[in-house]
Assembly symmetry: C2
Homo-oligomer: 401 residues x 2
Amino acid sequence: MSLFLTVVSVNEATAVIRSLAVKGGEEFVPLNEALHRVLARDVRSDVDIPGFTRSVVDGYAVRAADTTGSGDAIPAILTFRGRIAMGTAVGAPIVSGDCIYIPTGGILPNGADAVVMIENTEQIGGEVLIKKPVAPSENVLLSNEDFSRGEVVLTAGRKISAQDTGVLAAAGCSEVPVVMRPKVGIISTGNELVPVTATPGMGQVRDVNSYVVGAFVQEQGGLPVHYGIVRDDRDSLSTAIKRATSECNAVLVSGGSSKDDRDIVAAVISETGDVLVHGIAIAPGKPTIIGKCSGKPVIGLPGHPASAFIILVAIVRHLFTGMTGNTAAGIRTLPATLSQNVPSSRGREDYIRVIVKNGVATPLFGKSGLLNTLVKSSGFVRVPAGSEGLETGTQVEVVLW
Amino acid sequence: MSLFLTVVSVNEATAVIRSLAVKGGEEFVPLNEALHRVLARDVRSDVDIPGFTRSVVDGYAVRAADTTGSGDAIPAILTFRGRIAMGTAVGAPIVSGDCIYIPTGGILPNGADAVVMIENTEQIGGEVLIKKPVAPSENVLLSNEDFSRGEVVLTAGRKISAQDTGVLAAAGCSEVPVVMRPKVGIISTGNELVPVTATPGMGQVRDVNSYVVGAFVQEQGGLPVHYGIVRDDRDSLSTAIKRATSECNAVLVSGGSSKDDRDIVAAVISETGDVLVHGIAIAPGKPTIIGKCSGKPVIGLPGHPASAFIILVAIVRHLFTGMTGNTAAGIRTLPATLSQNVPSSRGREDYIRVIVKNGVATPLFGKSGLLNTLVKSSGFVRVPAGSEGLETGTQVEVVLW
């Protein structure tokens, strides 16, 4: 392995990782468990929604024309023809001059074409005074006004929101076709690593990346499979990667932090597969590896947790977009004004952690090994490869974590 | 029950619902399962992070003063004293004129105070040419520079992010003290409701709210407990509410959609407890009920799914903030420019669903019974109670779903 990496641009790296993503198969989950899953196919309604013309208010079903010109001073006077019970259709149609009490959700009777809200009426014996005119279709929801039978209510690739579960319910989708969650193997390498439950001795650090990577995988809709801490020797790592690629859809190896360790990761991937990218023109996170073993993507993340996290958000995210088929996979951004100059190097994309408050983005220039800048920051600002920096006052888009 | 509700302001309703929230107790979960849970107490590190002064690059450990003035043309020449293995401390201290190879993460030897990146060096036999000066502490992370032993790394009330799991790992927090998830009973009332698996007959609609409410509860960190569809009669509803309040921390009753149904919900709450709010100056969602039975909050949501969802996001959210103790419980907002006039009524807060694209918020003036405007919209714009509307071009904060 040579001392200097042959770096590719962020765009090239993204294209490579995207090309490795295999979209998961389809499975069906109960609607109650579908939140945040990604739809595997378009879902169509099996009925008209609603299935009948219904009132959206409590009031009187009328012929709209009978209410024209009515007001507080000169109300229209209609004949009270009784009350509609919820869920019941009325036999006799409403004719001109008639009205009938209808609850919210009630079936609009034949002959009626609108509903006057009860607040705008007054019933006096067998007569109802209408004090406000209504237009045809006012205060009613027409049959299939929301969705028609057979119409697509939500499209493939949509990440199901809370509201979406309501549309799926209305459409009769009690078992939801979703993309299977990718199983993602997580390996931490490094002779200096000890488990969280251990007290680190001199020169040792706790395994931070397994947790950060695992939580990121969960957030991206994947199932983390932990393979623990693997020592920095070829045999152990090779065994772990082979097992993980056979059991998972993708593998994320983090660390080691030193060049020697990284070289071992790259060497092991080369032995069992191909190293496609070794080095990305990005800071932090340059020594990232993108490889492929047994047809599965194997990503070598930087050892520094903060660098690893940037690479997850900036690059590895696209792997999940591909594996889950989530078409709207969103980075969330927030516009802000930069509070101070951010120097950068031409030729690489710099990802600067920032705190955003009241529309102002303040850079956190911590060393990339620090965890505290990672948890204090709101997200990052990208300085493009062609730029030598961003000046104070620049309008930036902050990518939120 | 009177025809007209005695409405309270959104702020009053929020204060009432907030006063009903009882923060959950503490439980411990494994760090791998702590993502998005809320910390029940401050977490302190049991060690210095890092526990030793370490290199953050691959290179040579030096005395910074020895590199002063060095450059490509006139490098400083230091004596090579071997290599530091990962996790190993060096016995003999570095003295002036010496250097030692150190990997990223290696323990900085005594006597050294900085590391020169390997890219800025050249080893020739027993000598190393240093081609770029370093300042003291450059490329090293000092012992406890990140966090000190005993220091609070994350505070109570924080919703744990992916990055946070890394800090917890470093701090030795393998079992995380989190606030117990509130169990939230969900009841749908309405004689017109049928389950999702049924095909609605004339006048019937599928139970949409159970799913929307359940998914919302999940997103807010609660555990939904479904009590199904309950008919609109006092006995059935009373039995269901009593059971739900005895088994859960809060109960959300949705519908009925008509005034008669709402009156039943309010009457049943009155019988077994207190109705504290019946009617909020908000549109949609006016006929919301906030009550208390057996010391537990019982909320009556509007029957229209779209109205119910607005009430969940605008009002009920605060109940979860209180129950989970999530101090940063965030609504996400996005600044945008309004694309057209939004008329409103003075005296109530209007929540207008909008689509946001490229910084422009376009109102969706659908009927509140429509599901499709709910799933098409990005969120809502609030028109304050004191305003008669918002004009085209107004800068608004869109509350994202």
